[in-house]
Subunit: 235 residues, 2 copies
């Protein structure tokens, strides 16, 4: 019953916020009257209220309305009533911490599995994997466990990019970091580049958008998949 | 009594492993006969044995010998006997996890505070701060707490680099990530660039090396410090 769009990023270079996803958003949330935005990842420390307003402004452009933000404590109630969910980007540790603190994980999962349309960008995509162990974010708050929504049978690394061999920077590449992850964790990792997204319909998990993606599996050479590839068997 | 070198990176572009630090390593460990290398951060998944051998090879070039690796469980004993400590780079979560698991934190701290010379690179530098909350690494294992050695009165972000305004990548810059950290954490953060290191002698914490560093403090504009600056009052 799942119906989801999981994007690497909310914004691609040179475009406005969410612009490249407008058509997908219209299709995903077609007919929805009560879309709940979950602002807990707070990019650049944006307040929950401001972040929600920013989303409301963009969604208006595709004639969709997003539920007003009032306070953190009514999210369980709002989740019960909503007919669409969007979790936006920011810090993934903070997002997971807050979802656990407000005991929203199980309800979000239940709604997604019963067919409530879900949009995730960046951190909101990351938490649909098995764990947040492949986030790029700093651990700005403590979390009890890295386990996340576990809707996907694998992990995502959003904003993925390939190693730049011209760079003089000696910090680990994304690929090196993901390979280190695979020593201690069994699930595959999808390196999802900016401009690409996963479109999930029932059991199908199709790569869409303008970029390819890189699949990392334990004890295997990473491989490239192209737009249109179905990831449903990856686990 | 502290005597430490805390470097952003083990290696700078175009040079061999540790090369730019050879003179500092010679001075720091002058007279040491029993230097213990702690290999738990495992860069690229390197085994504890291989990582230790790599360090032994480089230290030989400056006539210093590093204790052989035998197994993980004799580190407390080896710590008691050693007269120098080096913790190398790799994954900071893994390093902290292992130090806690083997109950080495207090002993390392005690040795450093009583004057045992200490070298840290990358993850080995990061864990000398208050927490590992400003690491660039992925959370490849669970940790109980982000608190680390707390030798420094601030946090470090190793391999720091400034935002590249020509880049089309939309992921958060280091600066944005650190500013997000400061919303939830009080300690300042030192953005330590590759090629620079902190030289600690008693209470003095001097920035040295070829780059400046950026200081991030809560509710303040970040500012630049140059080589020679003493960070002892930063907290």
């Amino acid at each position: 019953m799942k119906k989801m769009i999981l994007a690497s990023t909310s914004t691609i270079h040179g475009e406005e916020f969410l612009e490249y996803l407008f058509q997908e958003i219209k299709n995903l949330f077609f007919g929805c009257k009560n879309i709940l935005f979950i602002p807990f990842a707070r990019p650049s420390g944006l307040s929950h209220l401001s972040y929600t307003k920013k989303i409301q402004d963009q969604f208006k452009k595709v004639n969709l309305s997003v539920v007003d933000y009032s306070n953190d404590n009514d999210f369980l109630q709002k989740l019960n009533k909503c007919d669409g969910i969007f979790i936006g980007g920011g810090n993934t540790f903070l997002l997971l911490h807050q979802l656990n603190k407000l005991k929203l994980i199980e309800k979000i999962k239940e709604k997604i599995l019963s067919g409530t349309p879900y949009l995730g960008t960046s951190a909101g995509t990351n938490i649909c994997g098995i764990s947040i162990g492949t986030t790029n974010d700093m651990p700005i708050v403590d979390i009890e466990s890295r386990l996340s929504l576990q809707i996907l049978p694998f992990n995502i690394n959003p904003h993925f990019y390939e190693k730049n061999y011209d760079s003089k920077h000696m910090g680990e590449s994304r690929e090196t970091r993901i390979q280190e992850f695979l020593i201690y964790n069994k699930q595959p990792v999808v390196g999802l580049k900016e401009g690409s997204f996963l479109k999930i319909n029932q059991e199908n998990i199709i790569l869409e958008g303008k970029e390819n993606a890189i699949i990392f599996e334990r004890n295997q050479k990473p491989y490239v998949i192209n737009s249109g590839f179905n990831l449903k068997k990856l686990n």
